[in-house]
Each structure stands twice: as C-alpha cells, then as structure tokens.
Amino acid sequence: MAKVLMKGNEAIALAAMKGGLDAFYGYPITPQNEVPEYLSKHLIDAGKVFLQAESEVSAINMVYGAAGAGKRVMTSSSSPGIALKQEGISYIAAAELPCLIVSVMRGGPGLGGIQPSQGDYYQATRGGGNGDYQLIVYAPESIQETIDVVKGSFDTADFYRVPVMVLVDGLIGQMMESVDFERPMKHRELQPKDWATVGTKFHPGRRNIANSLHLDPALLEQHNFHLQAKYREIKKNETMYEMINMDNPDYVIVAYGTMARIARSAIEMLKEKGINVGMIRPITIWPYPEKAFDLIPTNTKGILCCELSMGQMLDDVLIANNGRHKVGFFGRAGGMVPDPDEIVDAIVNFKDKVVK
C-alpha cells in the first residue's frame, strides 16, 4: 500500500484492524472519538464486532469477556475514561488475558480539558488498579510509529498474555500525517489459545476458567511471583527506545511522544547556538529504558526531562540516572504545548531547571 494521509485516531483504528482486531468495545470521550467512529463502520463491515458500551467501566469488562474467549479485542479512551477502566485492567492483568488499550491523553486532573497532555504517565505505568501488575506501555511519537506499535500489539499481548497499552496525547490523535500501513512486523511464534473460555465442546475433558481470585495467600503469592517472572522477561526483551545525537553531548534531553517531536526541533536550534544536545526517547515507558542512561558520557553536563506534565516520567529518569548526572525538568500542563524555543531556553538556563 502506498503512503496515505490519515488522522492519528483513524490510523489507530485501521492499524488495529490490520493487526487482527476481532472486537472493539468503547465509550465516547474526546479526544479519541474518531477511533470508535471509524471502527463502528469499518469493523462491522469487515464482519467483526463493534459495540458502544454504556460506560467505560462496562467497555473494559466486555474486553475482559472477549479476551477470555480468546479473541483479539481492544478499547480506547482518554484520561478520565482510562481512570474508570483501571479496575478492569487490573482484573485482566491478573487473569493473564491479552488485549489492547489505547489511551489518548488530555489535560487533567479531574475533568480537566480536552487539549493534548502527558499527564497520565503515572496512570499508564504505575497502574490505577489494585495490586502488583504491569502493562506493556508504548508511547510513540508519530502516527507512523503509532501504527507500527498498534499493529504489533496483539501479537505482543498474545505472546505474553498481558494487556498492552498504547499511550498517545491528543495531538497525535488529532493531527494528520503521511503513513504506511504495510511496514514489516516483528515475527512472534504464538501458541494456540487453549486456555480460552469457548465451551468444553472445543476442549473436552478440561474446563477453562478466567479468574483473578486466589483466597489462599500462599497461592496468591505464587501467582504474583509468576506475574513478576513474566514482567522480568518483558523487561529483558521488549524495552524500546531511540538514542538521538548521542555523540558526546553537552546535555541530554529525555522526552517521549509529542514532547520528543518538539525536542527534536529544539536540538537543531541548539546546534546552531553551538550547544550539542542528545536525546533518549523512550518508546516503551514500561518497561522503561533504564539501560540507555548508562550510555550517557560522564562529562555530559546534565539531563533535562521534558514532559507535557508536571514531572511524572521524572521519577523514572531519576531512578535510571541513579545520581550520576544533574537532572533538570521542563514541563507544561493542562493542554499547553510548548514551542521548541522554550526547550532551547530550558537547556540554556539549565542550572535554573535542576531538581536533583
């Protein structure tokens, strides 16, 4: 397929279909509405399942049901809507069911606003649901990269039997870019879903149960150990990041998603000022690319964490930096998107930005 010009949210929908989507369950919320709108037509036309639920809570539990039945299933939402899904996400992670959750972030807290934000980094990586669980969280910076991770997300989710989240901000959801849907995907050897609850007719002699209840604390601890072992494997194999201009940089920016796009322009502007700035761009924010920080030269003057939020990824930057370099922070919030020269200023005046 040749390149096409497409809006981010619609590209997410089509990429999910290309990835083998069987069913979508969701609830309207800005700025992700084009995802369900697109699928309400095209997924049904393709003979698959689209259903608008009565709430985000209901939608994520429909996802639980269909994922348990072995289908490739997704939901999409935005910040307050993802908050409502957190209960179900915890259950899905606990029951080891694969699915895709797309989160198109808007400004918060509370009802907040509808402009682009990265204020749900904690929500995505720390989980708002109960218990020790993780999602694989992709945080792409362009519509093309969003397509690539969405398309591959069902294979990844099936491979590990975990929920996968694709986290973008409203800008990626709403803008248009020229994209290609046929880029090659990573090949994974997938096992048949012999655990799916499809009726004993299809697996005589065995009952399949999707469950997260373990009242015996010893068994529940074992289940936790099992999940943690899986998360260690994911950390080892699935961490993704990009290193940009890392040849002896004066400073290193750490940014993801839209903020990384803006930082790319800032880096070019800084070059003209004779300041050499590199960037670590996490593509997965869980697992976090901590190892990338080992590659920062010792003589680098500082690390600037840039976010469309008030210092959430900053925690992971501080952990990954482990006291080696000075760490500064630059952030905007509430839907305010900075110009590149604000990042330029933050680097030029780095000493004012230092938090640790």
């Binding site: 639980y64 049901g65 299933v73 469950n211």
Partner: protein, 249 residues
Amino acid sequence: MEVKYAKSKGLTDKPLTYCPGCAHGIVHKLVAESLVELGLLDRAIAIASVGCSVFSYEFFNCDAQQAPHGRACAEATGIKRVLPDSIVFTYQGDGDLASIGIAETIHAANRGENITVIFINNAIYGMTGGQMAPTSLIGQRTTTSQDGRDQAHHGSPIHISEMFATIEGVAYLERVSVYDPKHVIQAKKAIKKAFQYQNEKRGFTMIEVVSTCPVNWGMKPTDAMKWVQDKMLPVFPLGLFKDKGDQNA
C-alpha cells in the same frame, strides 16, 4: 438397580461452599440440570459474580469467567458478541446485580443481549457478612441498618423484575422461589425456558429467584423458608413478568 436420582453432570464434584440451608445449592442444581437436559452444557460459559456465588465457577461443570463486582453482564456481553453460538449466563446476587451492577444489567437487557441472568434475591449481602442490600425489606435489620431499613433514610426495596419488564430487549422474565418442592419445580421450568430462549436467540432472559440467607438473617433454614413466604413474597410477588415468546405465538 436403576438410578432414579443422581447429581447432575452439570455440577463438578467440588463440595459447595455455601452455608447450611442456603438456597444457592438448589438453584445451582436447577441451572446445571437445565443445561444438561437441553444439551447446552458443553457450549456454556458461566459468569461468576462477586458475593457468595463468587466460587460458582468451581461448581458449574463448564467453562467460566469470574467478573468484577457488578460487571457480570458486561463480561457476558463481551463473550456472547464474539461467540454468538455459545450459551452465556451470569449468576448474580442482589448486591452485585441490583446495586453496583444495575447499569451493566439494564443496558445488557436493553440491547437484548442474548444471555441468561440468574438473579438471586435474598435481601441481604451474604459474603460480606449481612449488610443492607437494595432489596432489603423496610424494617429489616442488617449490620448496616441495625434499627431496621428506614424508608425515609434508605429508600424502598428495589423491584428488579417490575423494572426490567418495561425494557424492550427482555425476551423472558419470571420471578420464582424455591421455598417448597412445588416452587422448586416451577423455578426449574422457568430456568430451563430461559436457556431454551437463549439457544433460540430470542434475546435477554432473566430469572429472579427469591431466596434465603439463614445465617445472616439469623434464622434456622426452615424459618428462613417461612420468612420468604411471609415477608418477602408480599414485597416481591412471584410470577411471569414478560414472555415475548408467548406474545408472538
């Protein structure tokens, strides 16, 4: 020697965890027998809810999913939409269905989801130790209404079957009880009909079972069965609330 009566193949050999005198055991048996008699067991997927029946996935001899509190009908919808030829049923108490899960249940009914809901109404939260339910009777003492349910403060017991009878997507809805053999037989007939309707893809079916909780009511099982007749049935009268099949006949 001919076996006249045996445990249903629709139940596993796991011993039930329910309290002595609780009617869950009877209703489980009726569900299991209905699925076996209709030849639907191997296509069935049970949804266990949160409450005393949370372990029902251990007892029904079919595939199962355990749903978050109140979300059983959403989970059932998710399954049924991708596996339209399966037989999906939820088994929910009054706290799960009539309180926290009422939105999920109403909208599943309104969409005419082709699922069966077994709704156990015993006017109390059993699993958590006897708190007030949305179906608790006026004056009923519970651990969170220690002076009795007060209409002015708590509102009145919610009438689920009466409410759901107004919903277009409901194909079959009956309120039954299991306090004596005659009513057990009637309840079985209703449950079986609900599954039969689901198999014929007629829409949403629900059976409300007016049931007991002797332990949290603080009664002997026999007294609990009597309390159902004397106190609950005047508030929750038994009967057929909707049958689209008969209307179409």
